[in-house]
Structures are given as C-alpha cells and as structure tokens.
C-alpha cells in the first residue's frame, strides 16, 4: 500500500497519528499463571532451552535483583531462599496463548503489526481523541478473555510508543496504559537512558555518551545534520521519531524469510557421530517443516557443529555447506544432505555441545526447476511429506518421525520442569475440581 510523505499509509486520515505498543507483562510467567492461579503474587522464573538461563521473571523476582539472562546455577541460592517457582520453557503453551492474544487484538484493532511473540504495534488513531480510553478497553478485554496482563504505551511514533510502554509498566498508578501524546514528552524523555531507546544498541550508546548524549531527550535535541553524518541515516530516523515525526511505518506484510535455521544445544555433551547425526536429522526435520509451512524450497543447506566455547577443553567448530542440485522442501532429501555434511565435519575426540542446520537460498516451491539429471520422483515424495505433515498436525508434533532422527534421543535438551501443554494436547488438559 502506498505511503504518504510522512511515512503513513494513506488510509490513515489527516488526524494526528497515535501509535501504540502493546506488550504482555512478563509473558512466559503470565502464561504459566493462566492455568496455575496459585502462582499469582509468587516469585516465578522460566528457564531457556536446556534450563540454562532465566528468560522470564515475575515482578517479585525482578524485585530480588535477578537479571534477565542470568545463568540458572547462579540463581539457585535465591531460588532456595525465596522459594522461587522454576519452570522450563513450554513453547507449545506460550505459542498458543500468544496466538490467542494476537488474534483477539486483530479483531479489536484493524491495523496491527505483530512484532514478536508478545508484542504488537497498533494504530490507535481516533478522530475523537479517545485513544487512551480505547487502550484501557483493549487491556481489559485481553485480560478477561485470555488472562494475560498487557501494557500499552501510546505515542506519535513507534520509538515514542516503546518509551511510553516502558513507563506504563514501571509506574503501577498508570494501570498499564501511558499516553505520551497528551503530556509534555520532555520530562519523560529526560529520564530514559539513551541505550534504552529502541534502535540504539550498546555500540551507538557508547559513542553517543562520549559526545555527551546520555538521555533520550538529549538525543532528540541533537543536531540532525551531525547525527546523519556521524552515525548514519538509521540513527537519524530514530532522532526524527523521538521528535514525533514518523519514519518507521507499520509493517503489515511480513518480509519473506531469507533463511530457516534450526539448532539447539544438547542436554549433555555428545561425542559419538551416531548421536550427532540423530540430532542433525531432528533439527533438519523441524527446519523442513517450517520450510513447507511457508511454501518455500531451499537450494543451499549448511550443517554446523561446535564444542563448548566457555569450557576449558579442546575446541572445534565447523560447518559444511551443500548446494543442492534441485531446490527442495523434502525432509528425506534434506536429511540426507545434512547428514553428509555432519559426517564430513565430525572429528572424534571432541565433546560437542551444539549443532544446527541452516536452509538458505529460499524460493517459492512452485517455481522450483528440476534439472536434466534429476531422477527423484518429486510428486510422489511431495504427497508423502504432505501426508506426514497432516498426521503430525492432527496427532501432535513428532507422531511420525524419520528413523535417522533417533528414537531415544538421549542428547535432547533438558526441560526438567515443563508445565503441561494445557492448550495443545488432549491428554494434558488442565484439571478442575468438581
């Protein structure tokens, strides 16, 4: 759709734009609390894949000073002392609840860009200026329908909406909604560290601080010509957005994927080639499923393996890239190439901690051209994959697997304390007491 000069789609009329960033409070923790209401008010953390580090903290845990990403072993003493409830990540649950929130949001707000699993940008421009009231209603409805608490920050631009969202979360009196379009932004921006501005990362922040720019307000007031010359047009856009001039439009059509990767760390070090191949086959299966979901085919595949960078032991990391004769989305074919790659780069005597597969050079599967020497019956295998996908969709992921992916999978990551998949498995439904 066309954009007007100010970067806004032309269906937004001439009223002053009002964007909002909606995000779910402590999303993974909130998901765990939906079916386990006794967790309300209690300190809860959720751990990353392999129970390695903390990826979600409840407010009670934040108050104890636990940082995002803290390694779990470091947090153990606090867990024991304050009886913090620990959960392994339950992505089946989080993904389902996220979808519910986003679908509901899409019904309430016509113009909506889903930004991540728990964030969305909304266009809340309303002719009568009742955007904040609408935001409160959205918050109430989402809380009621899905039990997920959300916060909304309103601003003229995405960058300002993000800042407003932080304020909404930090100040309980605002009850989850803060409107930066109806107040003087300067005192608010003066309290925001420049590194916390969306789009300003560690390196930009360091350089800016050296020039005396430490707050969002100072960045906003910086001379535009100098910013563009010294830091480039990306930072200039952020400065303009801080001034209330929209430069980053809502992305309503997601850009097509450039690559699909599947990789995980192992639950324990893997030394045998056979186990490594099982893992690579498993990750390839998952990546291929994603490929088919997007109706894409890949013509380049990279397998990579690595040892633990942080341990005092012999290090080895390598990858093998294969150009496929014909672009494909067929799991069996991809597994074969991925395993050849794994065999080629494997070296005995190392403890591998991670492996992965990258599918690259993606293109629409309908445009795949075979070559003269291709002997594979692609129609037949396409039907087979479609059948397998349907069965796995109906009966659960992994109902039908390729033998190369292994049956026991003892290398699989730990998830020792994962809650049941309450919303995606019939045999894991929440129980209610009659």
């Amino acid at each position: 759709m066309g954009c007007r000069d100010n970067g806004y789609p032309s269906y937004v009329s001439n009223m002053a734009p009002c964007l909002a960033l909606l995000d779910c409070n402590n999303f993974y923790v909130s998901c765990e609390r939906v079916f386990n209401p006794s967790l309300q008010g209690k300190p809860v953390i959720v751990l990353s894949n392999n129970d390695g580090c903390v990826i979600a903290r409840s407010n009670e845990v934040k108050a104890l000073g636990v940082k995002m990403g803290a390694p779990f072993f470091q947090v153990q003493p606090l867990v024991r002392k304050y009886k913090i409830q620990v959960y392994s990540s339950n992505y089946a649950l989080y993904g389902d609840l996220s979808q519910r929130v986003m679908v509901l949001l899409g019904e309430l707000v016509p113009v909506c860009e889903v930004y991540s699993i728990d964030e969305a940008f909304l266009d809340l421009s309303l002719a009568d200026g009742s955007s904040a009231k609408f935001a409160y209603q959205i918050r109430t409805i989402i809380r009621k329908w899905t039990k997920i608490p959300v916060s909304l920050g309103l601003g003229r631009t995405k960058v300002l909406a993000k800042i407003a969202n932080r304020v909404a979360k930090q100040v309980p009196e605002y009850e989850g909604v803060f409107d930066l379009t109806t107040v003087d932004p300067e005192p608010v921006l003066a309290k925001v560290d420049v590194q916390d501005v969306w789009g300003v990362g560690y390196r930009y922040a360091k350089a800016l601080r050296q020039q005396g720019i430490e707050t969002a307000l100072q960045l906003r007031n910086a001379p535009q010509g100098w910013i563009k010359q010294r830091f480039g047009v990306t930072l200039l856009r952020i400065v303009l957005e801080l001034q209330g001039i929209p430069c980053i439009p809502l992305e309503l059509c997601p850009t097509p994927k450039k690559g699909i990767t599947c990789s995980r760390s192992f639950g324990r070090p893997v030394e045998q080639l056979a186990e490594l191949k099982e893992a690579v086959a498993t990750y390839t299966t998952r990546a291929a499923e994603k490929l088919r979901q997007e109706n894409l085919a890949a013509s380049v595949l990279t397998t990579f393996i690595m040892t633990n960078r942080f341990k005092e032991e012999p290090r080895y990391s390598n990858s093998a890239t294969v150009t496929l004769p014909v672009a494909t989305d067929d799991t069996a074919e991809l597994i074969h190439y991925a395993l050849c790659g794994a065999e080629a780069i494997y070296r005995p005597g190392f403890s591998f901690i991670k492996a992965g597969v990258m599918l690259l050079n993606l293109g629409p599967v309908s445009l795949v051209q075979s070559n003269f020497f291709d002997t594979r019956d692609r129609e037949r295998y396409r039907l087979l994959m479609s059948t397998i996908d349907q069965i796995n969709h109906r009966f659960g992921t992994g109902t039908i697997q390729f033998a190369a992916a292994g049956l026991k999978k003892t290398w699989k990551m730990r998830a020792s304390n994962r809650s049941p998949r309450f919303t995606t498995r019939w045999d894991e439904l929440p129980r209610v007491k009659a």
Binding site: F35, P37, S38, Q40, R100, V101, V103, L104, E107, K144, W145, T146, K147, T302, N318, S319, A320, T321, V322, T323, P325, E333, H336, C340, G341, A344, I345, F373, T375, R376, R380, L383, L384, T387, F422, T423, W426, L429, P430, R431, V432, K433, A434
Partner: protein, 154 residues
C-alpha cells in the same frame, strides 16, 4: 553412501561441489492413495452437496477465549458433569446467576454453579454430599470462565 563421493576435505564454510546424488539402491514401497476413491457413478446428490459439520462451529463461539478443561471429582453430578468429562469454558462471557463456572478458590480451579441470593454470593455443588461455598468479602474469588458445554463419553 552416495556414488561419486570423493572425500573432499571440508574446511569452514567451504562449498562442496561435484556430482552428489542421493542413494537409491534400496527402495521401500509405501502404498499411497494417489487417486481419489470414486463412487463409480455420478451421484444425484452432487449438485446439492452441503458442507461438513464441524463441532468447533457448534461448540465454540469465541475461539480466542475458549479453553478445554478436564473434570476431577463428582460434586457436580446432578448437573451432568462427571469425572473425566471435558468442559468447554468461554472466558469472554459475563458470569450470571445460575451459570456453571470455573472459579479460582484457594488457588485451585474448581467447577461450581454460581448463585446469587440477594446479597449473598454462593458457589453451589450439584451433589447432595457437598456443601455450598459462601463467598465473603475478604475471600479472593476470581471467576475464571463460564462453562458452556460438557462433553461426556458414554
């Protein structure tokens, strides 16, 4: 193993070139129904074929707000809610007097019938062996959702 595979030394991110075809020396036949199973004659009903009945359509009004839960216990037998039944719970509905609801009582999800008697609020069981729970002001009551359907396997 693939044919024509000369052991090419692979270094970081190098491109593997050369003929490299998957091995097809073994084959397993899987019967796949590649053609539609046809009735063998043009059915007089073809022009009137209606759509398929979908239980989701019948039972779920607000998908984003609808959850399934499983029942433990027998305090709601007279309401036809048996142990191990699946309940369809709609969180978007306003709980009304007389609705069977899921309530959070003492941190637990419980299924009871909501009763308003004048100023009193009660969670009633549907089984003479169980008493009603009266909700006092100090109690922390949250109505988690309204039960719209009970799915009971005979």
């Amino acid at each position: 193993m693939p044919e024509n595979s000369s052991p090419t030394p692979i270094t970081n991110n190098s491109w593997v070139s050369g003929a490299f075809r998957p091995d097809y020396t073994t084959r397993y036949e899987f019967p796949l129904y590649l053609e539609r199973v046809s009735a063998g004659f043009p059915s007089p009903a073809d022009d009137h074929l209606d759509r398929k009945l979908d239980l989701n359509e019948l039972l779920i009004e607000h998908p984003s707000a609808t959850f399934f839960v499983r029942v433990s216990g027998d305090s709601m037998l007279k309401a036809c809610v048996h142990p191990n039944d699946v309940l369809v719970v709609d969180q978007s509905l306003e709980p009304r007097d007389g609705n069977v609801v899921i309530a959070v009582v003492n941190g637990e999800l419980t299924v009871k019938r909501l009763c308003k008697q004048g100023k009193r609020l009660l969670l009633m069981a549907e089984n003479d062996d169980y008493p009603a729970i009266e909700i006092h002001e100090e109690m922390d009551l949250l109505i988690w959702g309204v039960v719209t359907t009970v799915i009971h396997r005979m």
